[in-house]
C-alpha cells in the first residue's frame, strides 16, 4: 500500500486561516443548536490543524483519524438517534468539517471544507430566517469567496486583493441573482416531505397547562403573528385569538382530549353582525395550531381543519412562516344541543382533587339559584376579594386550585382560567379552557397588529342551557387592564410603578415600531415571496396571465442580457490602453507623406526626410512637427496643441 506523506510544509499558511474563518462564519448560527462537543471538536480541530501547519508537523495518522471519525459518527447518532433533518444534518456537516481539517494536506483539499461551509450557511437559512439573515448570508458568502480565492491565488497575492476580487465578482453576480430570484417560478407544493425537525424547541403556546408548575411566565417579546385588517382594527377587548381547547383535567394539569375519545360532534355556530377580514402572518411554532380571531368562519391556509371545538389545526407543524387570510365574526353564538356524553365530558373532574374548591362550588351554586347567577357570583368573588394578577406567582403543590383559591391568591390567566373551570365543573356546568392570544399591539406606522408571545392568554367557555357556549374571561374580572392594555403593560402597572420605573421611553418605542414595520415588510415581500405574490408582481410588471413558462423565458432572457452586459464590462476593464491622440494624428500624417517611418526614427528625423523628398510643402511639415512636439511633450492638460496638430494634418491634402 502506498503511504501518503503526512508532513506539512507551511504552504497552506496563507489560505488556512481564511478557510477556518469561512467555517467559523458558516457554523456560527448553528452553535446554539449544536451539542457542545461538536462545536468544541470543530474549534479544536481547526486550531490543531493550523498549529500543525505553523510548526511544520505531520498530520495525525490514518488510524487516529478513523478512530475519531467513528467516535464522532456514533456521538451524532447517540445525540440525535437519527441523521436526517436540519439539526442532525448540520451536526454531521460540522463534524465532517472538523475531521476534514485533520486530513487537509494540499491546498485543493480545502475545497471540501468550503463546500461544507456553503451547505452550513444553507442549512442555517432553512432553520430560521430573520431580517438579519440576508446581511449574514452576504457576509458569509464574501468570506467563503475570499477563502476560495486565497486557496487558489499565487503566493504573493495579498488577502486584501483576494477580498477585493471576491467583492467585485459578488457585485457583478448580484443583479443576476436578483433577476433569477424574482423570476424563478415558485411552486406551492414540495417534492418530498420536509423531515420533522425533532431538534427544534417549540415556541409559543404549549398544548397543556399546569398552573403552578412553572412559577414564572416568560415575557418573551418575540412576535407570534402579525395581523393586517382590511378595515378598522377591533377593540382590544374583542381580540381573542382562538388557538387550542383544553377539556381534560387530572387535578393538576389541563390537556386536550384525545380526538377519538372526546366529543366529536361539531358544534353549530351562527354568526351575526359584520364579518372581520384580515391577513395573518404566523411565525413558525413547530406546532400544528393555527390562530384566528374568535370565531373563525373561513381561512385560506392549506391543510388546515377546524376541530370539534372550533380550534384550527394544520395537518403538519408550522415549521415555516405562513401567511393566510381569514374571516371571523366577533358576534356569534353556538346553539349546540350538548349530547349527554359531551355534557358529562365537560363536567368531568377527578373526584378526590381540590376538595375545598369542590365543596365551595357546591355551596355557592346552591346559594345562587341559577347557573347564570352562580357565574356572576364566582366572577364577583375574583373581582372583590383579595385576588391579584401577577406574572410571578408562588408555586402551587398538589390540589393546585385549592392552594390558589384559598391560600396564595396570586396568579395570571392560567390560574384564573383553571380555577374558574374547576368551579364550574364542580357545579355541573360544562366548561373548558381556550388557549390563544389576547389583544396585541397596534403598530400605527405599519398599520398592523403585533401579537407577541407575551400576549398568550387562557380563558374559559361555559355551556349554558339554550345559550350554547359562552366565553368568560375570569382574568378580566381580576385585572381588567390586562385585557385593555396587554399582559406586559398590566404587569408593569402593578410592579414597575411600585419600584418607580417608568414605561419605556417614547423614542425607544418608536424605534421598536419602526423595526417591527421593517420586519413585517421583509417577511411579507422577501421571505413570503410565494406563488401568489409572484403572480401579483408579474402582473404589476405587465406580464399577462403569468405562468411558469413565461417566467422562465423572461428569466433566461434577462440573465442572458445581464451576462452580455457583464461580459462587455469585463471587456472594457481588460481592454488594451488607447493610443494617444498625438500618435494617431502623426500616423495619419505619415500615411499622407507616402513614406514609411523607419524603426527608431524620431518624428523630427522623419519630418526632415519628408521635407527632403519634397512631396509636401516644407511649412506644412514644419507646422505638423511643431504641433506634434507640443502635444507630446507640452503640459499634459493642454488640448490646444492636439487641436493644432489636427488642423495641421488636416491642412495637408
Amino acid at each position: 500500500m502506498m503511504v501518503r506523506p503526512r508532513g506539512t510544509d507551511g504552504s497552506l499558511l496563507s489560505s488556512l486561516p481564511w478557510t477556518i474563518a469561512a467555517l467559523a462564519v458558516s457554523a456560527a448560527p448553528h452553535l446554539p443548536y449544536l451539542p457542545i462537543w461538536i462545536s468544541a471538536a470543530l474549534f479544536g480541530c481547526s486550531i490543531w490543524r493550523y498549529l500543525i501547519e505553523r510548526r511544520r508537523r505531520a498530520l495525525p495518522s490514518i488510524w487516529l483519524r478513523a478512530l475519531l471519525a467513528l467516535a464522532c459518527f456514533l456521538g451524532v447518532l447517540a445525540t440525535y438517534s437519527t441523521i436526517s433533518g436540519v439539526g442532525p444534518g448540520s451536526a454531521l456537516l460540522a463534524i465532517m468539517a472538523a475531521l476534514k481539517f485533520l486530513e487537509t494536506r494540499k491546498r485543493r483539499d480545502q475545497f471540501v471544507l468550503l463546500f461544507i461551509s456553503i451547505f452550513l450557511v444553507m442549512s442555517s437559512l432553512l432553520r430560521e430566517q430573520y431580517l438579519w439573515s440576508l446581511p449574514y448570508l452576504i457576509v458569509s458568502t464574501i468570506v467563503i469567496m475570499t477563502a476560495w480565492l486565497r486557496m487558489s491565488a499565487a503566493q504573493d497575492e495579498t488577502a486584501r486583493q483576494s477580498f477585493a476580487t471576491g467583492g467585485r465578482l459578488l457585485l457583478y453576480a448580484a443583479p443576476l441573482a436578483v433577476a433569477m430570484w424574482i423570476f424563478f417560478p415558485r411552486i406551492a407544493i414540495p417534492f418530498w416531505a420536509v423531515p420533522m425537525d425533532t431538534g427544534t424547541a417549540t415556541t409559543g403556546i404549549s398544548d397543556s397547562m399546569s398552573p403552578g408548575d412553572v412559577s414564572k411566565l416568560s415575557l418573551s417579546d418575540a412576535v407570534a403573528f402579525r395581523v393586517k385588517f382590511d378595515d378598522t382594527i377591533p377593540a382590544a377587548r374583542d381580540r381573542y385569538w382562538r388557538g387550542l381547547v383544553l377539556t381534560v383535567f387530572n387535578g393538576r394539569t389541563w390537556s386536550m382530549n384525545d380526538p377519538f375519545e372526546g366529543p366529536r360532534v361539531h358544534e353549530t355556530v351562527s354568526e351575526q353582525g359584520d364579518p372581520v377580514r384580515y391577513q395573518v402572518t404566523l411565525e413558525p411554532t413547530h406546532q400544528p395550531y393555527v390562530f384566528a380571531l374568535d370565531m373563525p368562519w373561513s381561512w385560506t391556509l392549506e391543510r388546515t381543519f377546524m376541530g370539534p371545538q372550533q380550534q384550527l389545526v394544520n395537518a403538519r407543524p408550522i415549521d415555516q412562516r405562513v401567511a393566510y387570510e381569514a374571516v371571523s365574526y366577533l358576534d356569534f353564538s353556538t346553539n349546540a344541543d350538548l349530547s349527554n356524553y359531551a355534557r358529562s365530558w365537560y363536567q368531568r373532574l377527578p373526584d378526590a382533587s381540590n376538595p375545598r374548591t369542590q365543596s365551595l362550588a357546591k355551596d355557592m351554586r346552591s346559594a345562587a339559584g341559577s347557573d347564570a347567577a352562580y357565574i356572576e357570583a364566582v366572577l364577583r368573588k375574583f373581582n372583590t376579594e383579595e385576588y391579584f394578577y401577577t406574572l410571578e406567582p408562588p408555586p402551587l403543590g398538589n390540589n393546585s386550585v385549592d392552594r390558589f383559591l384559598f391560600d396564595t391568591r396570586r396568579g395570571f390567566c392560567e390560574h384564573y382560567a383553571s380555577a374558574f373551570a374547576v368551579m364550574m365543573r364542580a357545579a355541573d356546568i360544562p366548561a373548558r379552557i381556550v388557549l390563544g392570544y389576547q389583544g396585541g399591539e397596534i403598530n400605527s406606522m405599519a398599520g398592523h397588529l403585533i401579537v407577541r408571545q407575551s400576549d398568550a392568554h387562557a380563558w374559559n367557555e361555559v355551556w349554558l342551557e339554550r345559550h350554547g357556549w359562552y366565553r368568560i374571561d375570569p382574568t378580566a374580572a381580576v385585572a381588567p387592564e390586562r385585557i385593555d392594555l396587554g399582559a406586559s403593560n398590566a404587569a408593569f402597572e402593578g410592579f414597575g410603578a411600585a419600584w418607580g420605573l417608568s414605561a419605556p421611553s417614547e423614542f425607544l418605542h418608536q424605534l421598536s415600531m419602526t423595526f417591527d414595520a421593517l420586519d413585517a415588510k421583509w417577511n411579507d415581500w422577501v421571505l413570503g415571496y410565494g406563488p401568489d405574490k409572484q403572480t401579483d408582481v408579474m402582473e404589476w410588471l405587465g406580464m399577462r396571465d403569468p405562468d411558469w413558462q413565461k417566467m422562465i423565458l423572461t428569466m433566461i432572457g434577462l440573465v442572458l442580457g445581464l451576462i452580455a452586459l457583464i461580459s462587455l464590462l469585463l471587456a472594457l476593464r481588460y481592454r488594451p490602453p488607447a493610443k494617444d491622440a498625438a500618435a494617431v494624428l502623426f500616423q495619419r500624417f505619415i500615411k499622407k507623406t507616402g513614406l514609411e517611418q523607419g524603426i527608431g526614427e524620431t518624428a523630427e528625423r522623419f519630418a526632415h526626410r519628408a521635407m527632403q523628398t519634397g512631396t509636401l510643402p516644407a511649412d506644412a511639415v514644419e507646422s505638423v512637427t511643431a504641433a506634434y512636439h507640443d502635444a507630446r511633450y507640452g503640459p499634459v492638460d493642454d488640448d490646444s496643441a492636439i487641436a493644432r496638430l489636427k488642423r495641421a494634418v488636416g491642412a495637408i491634402g
Binding site: I118, L125, Q129, T141, L149, L176, S567
Partner: protein, 336 residues
Amino acid sequence: MSSIQWPSPSPGRLFSALRTGAAAGVGRWARRRQGLDPATTRLRPGRVYILPTGVGIVFGIMAFAMLLGSMNYNNNLSFVLTFILIGIGFVSMHQCQRNLVGLELTFAGTEPVFAGQTMRFGIAVTNHSKNARYGIRLYREGIESDIQDLHPGESKVFVLAVPTEQRGLITLDRFGIRTFFPFELFRSWAWLHMDISALVFPRPAERPPEPPPTMVAHGHRQHDARGEEDFAGLRKYHEGDSPRHVAWKAYARSGQLLSKQFAGADTSSQWFNFDDIPVDDVEQRLSILTRWVVDADRTREDYGLRLPGEEFAPAHGEAHRRACLEALALFEKGTT
C-alpha cells in the same frame, strides 16, 4: 509553489487513450484554424477556449441540489444564496476568459543544451491592460511553467522546461497558456503555434577514449630585437583572435579588421576525426566527439574537427566551439 495538477478524473487506460486521441484531433483542428502565429502574438477573444474543471462540475451539481432544496422548502433566502452562487459561476466564467484575452506572448529565446538536459524555452507574456491578470501559467503536454500574476503593464518570462532525449533540432510546435482564475471553476486556455526551435547538442560521452595526441608544430624561431616572433603577414580577423594581434594601424587606415600572423609561433593543435574513432555506432561517435570538443574548449587549446564532408580547421573560442557542436548536432540530419 508547486503547480496544481488539473483535473484528470481517474483515467482508465482506454479513457486515457481516448483522451490523448481526442486531444491530438482537437490540437490539429486548432492548428488549422489558427494558422502559424508570429513571434509576437496577442490573444484575441476568439482563440481563448473555456471549459469547466472538475471542481466546477461539482460546484454546478451543488448549486443544482441547492436549487432543488430551496424549491422544496420554499425558502426564499436559500434561493438568494443559490442564485448568488449561480451568478458567481456565470461571472467567473467570463472573468476566467477575460483573464487571458489581450495578453501578448513573445518568444523570449532559449539556449542550446546537450541531449538529456532540459531545454528551457522562455516565453514573455505582457499585460498591456490596466488590470492585473492572476494565476497565469504556460504549459505543454505534461509540462507546466510557474504560476505568476501579471500586474498592469507588466511583462514576465515564463519558462517551459522541456526534457530532451536526442540531438538535433527540437521544436516547440505547440504550447498553451491557461488560467483557472478566479475560483478554479473554469479552465480557460489558448493554444499557440509559433515557429520556435532550438538546438540540442549530442550528449557528451561519459567515458570517452583518450583524445588523439596534441601535435605541436615548432616553428623556426627567429626572434627580433624585442623578442617577438617574426611578422609573417596580415589575414582577415577571425572571432577569437587576440586583440593584441589586431593590426590597429591598418584598421585606422582601411576600416577593416586584420590580424597579424607570425611565422614561427608555436601551434599546438588536435584533430578530432570522425572516421578514426574505434566505435561503430554513429551516435556514439558523435557523443565522443562532443565530449572531446567540450574538454578541449576548456583547455583553450586549438582543436580541429573532421566529419565526413565537413571540416573545421583548428582554432578555439566560443564561435569555434559553437560551430563544431552545431555540426555534430545536425550531422546527417540536414539543416533545413
